[in-house]
Structures are given as C-alpha cells and as structure tokens.
C-alpha cells in the first residue's frame, strides 16, 4: 500500500515523524471492505459509538457523584434535580447501558449466524467475548452506584455467587466486600473499577479492531474477498452507511431517554439501599436476565456439587463456551445463508435466549401454566394431608402425594439445557452431517454473473 499523497506540507512534515495520517488513511479510508455488507454489519461501529457516549457522560457524571454509602443515593438525586442537565446526562448514561448491550447482542448474534468466529477470525472472536465480559462487569458495578435497593441487593446476590467456590469462597466474598456485607468499602471499590474498566474496554477494542483489520470483515456470503472487484474502500462507502445507521439508532435511543427513561430500570432502585430489608423480587437489568435464568436453573445437587455451585458454573460456562465455539462448529461453510438446517436451529437458539430472559424475570417457583389459586388449593390439601398423617404417627411427607406444577424454573431448566445442547452437541454434529448449499465462487458472482470469480 502506497502512502497517500499529502498536499499540506505541515501534515507531511508530521507524518514523516509519526505516520499517523498514513495509518488513518490505510485503516479508515482505503481499507478494503467487502462490498456486500448488510445493515447487520452496522452494529460494530454502533457499539464503538456507545462506548464513547458512555465514557463521555460517565466522566461528567463522576464530577457530581459521591461514592459514599450515606451520600451516594442523595448525590444521584441531586444530579437529577439540581445539576444543570444532570437528568439528561444520567438518563443518557443509564439508558446507554441498555442500548450498548442491545447493540452488542445483535453484533454477537450477527457473528453467530454468519460464522464470523471461524478461521481465520478466532482471536478476533475471543477479544469480542473478553469485551462482553468486561462490559458485564462494568455494567454490574455501575448499577450499584446509585445505592438504591436493587443496587444493594443485586450487588449482594451477585457477589455471593463467589461464596459457591469450595474452600476459599467465603474469604473471597469478604475480600470483594472489604467487610462482612456489601457496604461503604464495596461501593468505593466498585466506583473505582467502574471508572477504570471502560478504558480497559477501549484497549481491548483497539486489539479487536487490529485483529479485524488483519483479515478484514466477514460478510453475508461468508466467503473471502478474491480481489479488488469484491471490495470497496471503507471511506466514504461504509462511513456513510455507519453514520446513517447511527442516526436511526439515535432516534430509538432518544425515544427512551426522553419518553421512557425509566422503562428499562426498576422502580425499587428509587428506594435508598436498606441492608435489613430485601425487596420482594430481586431482578437484574434485562441484559442479564438470560444468565440469571441459567444461574437459577440448578435447584438440585449433582454428586458432591451443591446446586449453588452448579448454577454459578453453568452461568459462567454459558459465556465461556463461546471461546471454544470456533472448534465446536465443525462446518466449513461460514455463513448461515448456505446452511439450510443450521438456519432453523439458529432461530430456535434466539427464541431460546429470549425465553431464558423471560424466565429470568419471573419468580422461579411460580406456576407456569396453572393459576395461583389452584396451586394454593392443592398445596393446602397436601399440607393438611401431611399434618393428618404426622398426627397419626406416620411420615406425612412420604404418605401424601406432593402436588406437582410446572414452574418457571422448569422452563428455565429446559431452555438452559437447550442452550448448551446447541453449542456442545448440535453444532459439532450438524457441521459434519448437514448438506450445505453451493457457495458462490465470489462475492460479486451472485450479482454480476461471472464477475470477479470468473474474471480472474
């Protein structure tokens, strides 16, 4: 690649000493990009835009926020009421978290459908998963900062997950808390890390883009670019397309900020944190609900492993399985477009994840189908039967038939099992057995018959 021609002598002088203009020209201007990218390819740059929005609003919010268990809640209310445009900054930031996740989830599922994790993009994929994990940690700690009831109890439940680790679990939890419960030391360190981690994410995003630019973007056909006929320069074609997508995205984002600013939040978080009262129903933010459902799916022990540890392992495994996905999916065809069977299972996987999220929002032992009243009646009958048998000197719990109802937790178990089935069993087998459709010889071929592929 030749250096760009530079007419401005100042810029040329600088570029000779630090070739940053040449670098930007290569990577943002002439960077050859597949010419068939669909709008599904907008979400990577949207995620980058959201990261910038979150960092900028976060830095300004931090100027007004006080990380102290007695003052945090009040300082957030002050931002909402007294700080100039504080309400706007906070709503941009709090809804921005949700927007960031929706964009990233679409970006991930785009990659899952079009096989963007496959050779030679495995490291690119790994870096993306690391970004996702860092985002989750950042979002979780950010949600604690307003120090409302959901903040406090969310932090309590999630940090308690680590107590499931054998032997050292309790020491780790005490270390995480800096005390014997979630309290002031916890809040302070969460603030510190919530400020740090976004910049770590920036670092990993740089690596993610670096890895991307080595082999270039995947594309809806999932086949490699075979020559200059198959590509167009990034600028102006994709800069314009990304900006257009961003404009539409900001409309949706603004609707939330200005019309439904608390729709994605939880009203309990406008109650100051109270360590002595747990809210009736602790739910995480929507973007964690599927993982929460996986966590709670294990209400039984297996061998020596208690249910709590299993749930924690399963929850982390649901993301870590993505690291080995490039080797689990044995199909040599990247794009789902040419995989007629995979396509259907991909749709089922999306439905599965949505159902997991739905289950995550519900109380696990509520009946799924039967009405609350009929369950109550059956339970009363059972308890009466047990009491009667116990009074007669028998073992009531063995004598009486326990009523069984399909509960949300059962649906959670089914969908969790399917999630792991998809990655661990289905994809390895499907890759070997599926008859894929014939691939076009080049990106251009389906459009201009005998285009780039035949022309070479």
């Amino acid at each position: 690649m030749a250096a760009p021609t530079m007419n401005n002598r100042m810029i040329k002088w600088f570029d000779d000493r630090l070739p940053i203009f040449t670098f930007m020209h290569h990577e943002l201007h002439e960077y050859p990009t597949p010419k068939n990218l669909s709008y599904w390819w907008n979400f990577g740059s949207l995620a980058g835009i959201m990261l910038v929005v979150m960092i900028v609003t976060g830095i300004v919010l931090a100027m007004h926020y006080t990380a102290d268990a007695n003052l945090a809640f009040g300082s957030v209310e002050r931002i909402m009421r007294d700080v100039n445009y504080g309400w706007l900054l906070r709503y941009i930031h709090s809804n921005g978290g949700s927007m960031f996740f929706i964009v990233v989830y679409i970006h991930v599922f785009r990659g899952l459908y079009y096989g963007s994790y496959k050779s030679p993009r495995e490291v690119l994929w790994w870096l993306g998963i690391i970004i996702l994990l860092l985002m989750m940690a950042t979002a979780f700690m950010g949600y604690v900062l307003p120090w409302g009831q959901m903040s406090f109890w969310g932090a309590t439940v999630i940090t308690n997950l680590f107590s499931a680790i054998p032997l050292v679990g309790d020491s780790i939890v005490t270390w995480l808390w800096g005390g014997f419960s979630v309290d002031d030391p916890t809040l302070n360190r969460f603030f510190s890390l919530h400020y740090l981690l976004p910049f770590v994410i920036v670092g990993v995003v740089v690596l993610h883009l670096w890895a991307l630019h080595v082999h270039g973007s995947n594309n809806p056909k999932g086949i490699d670019m075979k020559g200059p006929q198959d590509s167009i320069p990034f600028h102006p074609y994709y800069t314009v397309k990304d900006l257009f997508g961003a404009a539409l995205f900001f409309v949706v984002y603004a609707v939330f900020i200005f019309f439904f600013p608390d729709y994605l939040g939880h009203p309990d978080n406008y109650i100051p944190a109270n360590p002595l009262v747990t809210p009736a129903h602790i739910v995480p933010e929507w973007y964690f609900l599927p993982f929460y459902a996986v966590l709670r799916a294990f209400d039984f022990d297996i061998w020596f492993m208690p249910a709590k540890l299993l749930g924690v392992i399963a929850m982390f495994a649901s993301i870590l399985v993505l690291f080995v996905l490039p080797w689990l999916d044995t199909s040599r065809v990247r794009s789902g477009t040419f995989r007629p069977v995979f396509k259907w299972f991909f749709i089922i996987l999306i439905i599965d994840c949505v159902v997991l999220g739905y289950v995550g929002a519900k109380a696990p032992n509520d009946p799924l189908i039967a009405s609350q009243e009929s369950v109550q009646a059956a339970n009363d009958e059972y308890n009466a039967c047990v009491a009667k048998a116990d009074a007669a000197g028998k073992n009531g719990e063995e004598e009486c038939d326990k009523p069984f109802f399909v509960q949300y937790v059962h649906l959670g178990q089914l969908t969790t099992a399917y999630y792991f089935f998809h990655f661990l069993l289905l994809l390895p087998i499907l890759g070997r057995t599926e008859r894929t459709l014939p691939l076009p010889t080049s990106i251009s071929e389906p459009v201009t018959k005998g285009g780039a592929g035949a022309g070479q």
Partner: protein, 163 residues
C-alpha cells in the same frame, strides 16, 4: 540463569502486589465493629426482633412452646443440613440467627407476624424460595445450609452479646 532471574522477579512482583490485594480486605475499623450487645428485656414470647451486626441483620426469636416443639420434633436424618435444635441454641427459648439466606444472601421474611414464614413457620426467603423451619434449618429450596448461628453469649438474663 533465566529461570532463577524469572523466579526471583516473579516473587518480587508477587510481594509487591500483595499489599494492593490485602488492602481490599476488611480494614481495622471495620473489624473493630465486630461485637454488639442486644437488650432482650422487652421481647415477648413469640416476638422476633432484628439487630444489626457487622452490617447484616441478626434475628432474635423468643420462641413459643409450639414452635419449640415443632423444632425439636423433626427427624434430623431427613434434613439437608442435619442439626438438632439443641445444637443450634444456648437457651432453647431464644433462637439467634444471622438473617442472611445461605443461598445468595437475601434477608428472609418472617420477622413480622404478617410476613410469609414459609411452609414450616420459620422464615421464607423471597429471592429464590428457600423455606426455613422454626430452628432456622433449611427445609426446602436452593439454600445449601441452615441459617448461620453467630457466636453469641448471654451476659445476663436480658442481654446477649453477639460476636
């Protein structure tokens, strides 16, 4: 030679990192707040009170005879975390528990007479549905162990020191 240098460097780095890691453990002033005394003189039979110890609620339950009988009548071998009621109390009338569900740390309901006390009349954790009996033992739900009995002693008939 490389190995020795590397090992020495790694040891040095670990020693340098340790203060950073240990600084996140509870500080001296946090540890200093680790005992409290509770006055029991105003607690009626059947009443439950909550006191705060190390940032967490502690349940003190002056049990009725009925609750006591229920707690003692249980066939211990059928429990997930087998413990007799006698092992969990100093004076049978007074049950002292850390009010933190052993599952994921919510505060179980049951301190108020109007609360849902679960199927065994003890405590019920609303977060993930663990039921505890009148001895604070896990009977149903995801929690792995009984509610924790803190270290405590009776200073006199109406004062208990926790911690």
């Amino acid at each position: 030679m490389y190995l020795a240098t590397g090992a020495f460097g790694a040891l040095g780095a670990a020693l340098a990192v340790w203060p950073l890691i240990d600084s996140m453990n509870p500080a001296a002033d946090t540890l200093a707040l680790s005992t409290i005394e509770a006055d029991l003189s105003a607690v009626e039979t059947g009443q439950r009170i909550t006191v705060k110890w190390r940032g967490s609620p502690v349940f003190i339950d002056r049990r009725t005879d009925k609750q006591l009988q229920e707690a003692e009548a249980v066939d211990v071998s059928r429990l997930r975390d087998p413990q007799t009621d006698a092992e969990r109390v100093i004076k049978p009338e007074w049950l002292v528990l850390v009010g933190i569900c052993t599952h994921l740390g919510c505060v179980p309901l049951g301190q108020k007479p109007t609360d849902d006390r679960g199927d065994w009349g003890g405590w019920f954790c609303p977060c993930h549905g663990s039921h505890y009996d009148t001895s604070g033992r896990i009977r149903k739900g995801p929690a792995p162990t009984n509610l924790v009995v803190p270290v405590y002693e009776f200073l006199d008939d109406s004062t208990v020191k926790i911690g």
